[in-house]
């Protein structure tokens, strides 16, 4: 009788053990466009170059800088916005 009572009490006690139901929230994947690397800057390989050609290389390099800067700004905006959305779920 005592053994049965002990068994019953044990079952009753362990019935309080919890079973967890996790809800997983993943941080979003970055878009492929943002994963593109910045292009290396152009150099001048010819020893004698006319002024306009020199200026074109400089201009191309500035264009590359602006493209890369645009990408970095987009990365920052992407992270800020996504973090805001991610954090709102756990508020």
């Amino acid at each position: 009788m005592m053994k049965k009572l002990l068994l019953f009490c044990t079952v009753l006690l362990i019935s309080g053990c919890s079973t967890t139901v996790p809800v997983k929230q993943k941080f979003p994947e970055a878009p492929k466009v943002l994963l593109e690397k910045c292009e290396p800057l152009e150099t001048i390989d010819k020893p004698n170059i006319v002024f306009s050609e020199f200026l074109k290389v400089v201009t191309n390099n500035y264009t590359k800088y602006h493209t890369c800067s645009n990408l970095i700004n987009a990365w920052q905006e992407w992270y800020t916005e996504q973090k805001k959305i991610f954090d709102e779920v756990n508020k």
Partner: protein, 147 residues
């Protein structure tokens, strides 16, 4: 509580109701001959059943509360995923448009150089040191000592 997941809900309600009925029978209806004969066992079993019933009912209430919270959380996560996808699309569109604009502007500047600066090619010579300085800047290499 794992036992709540395993045990059908109606059994828990049945245990609880049996406990209540038994307790009433054991303590109030003692004057009925059949009940008065088994009064003590009915009282003991009923109290045990009532205790177990209250315990399990509490477990069910807690489980329902958590399930509700899980559902709320799932809705929130789904909403966040939708918002995140919208933000992704907006940023990608913005980057693509701006990159295209930057390239177009660059091409226009090159055309401007061809049109306006080319005429100075014969009069304006680019010294080798200027080219070297440019290349060093492009590669981010500092000039060597003495140069």
């Amino acid at each position: 509580m794992w036992i709540i997941n395993w045990l059908p809900e109606f059994i828990v309600h049945l245990i609880f109701i049996t406990g209540i009925v038994g307790t009433i029978a054991g303590f109030v209806l003692g004057f009925i001959p059949f009940i008065s004969k088994y009064k003590l066992p009915i009282q003991i079993i009923s109290i045990l059943l009532l205790t177990l019933g209250v315990y399990l009912e509490g477990g069910i209430a807690e489980k329902n509360k958590w399930e509700l919270r899980v559902k709320e959380m799932e809705v929130k996560v789904a909403e966040a995923q939708a918002k995140s996808a919208v933000v992704n699309t907006e940023i990608v569109e913005k980057v693509v448009t701006q990159t295209r604009t930057i390239k177009v502007q660059g091409e226009k500047i090159v055309q401007y150089i061809d049109r306006e600066v080319k005429v100075y090619d014969n009069t304006c010579r680019v010294p080798d040191v200027a080219i070297q300085a440019h290349n060093m800047a492009a590669k981010n290499i500092a000039p060597q000592e003495g140069k």
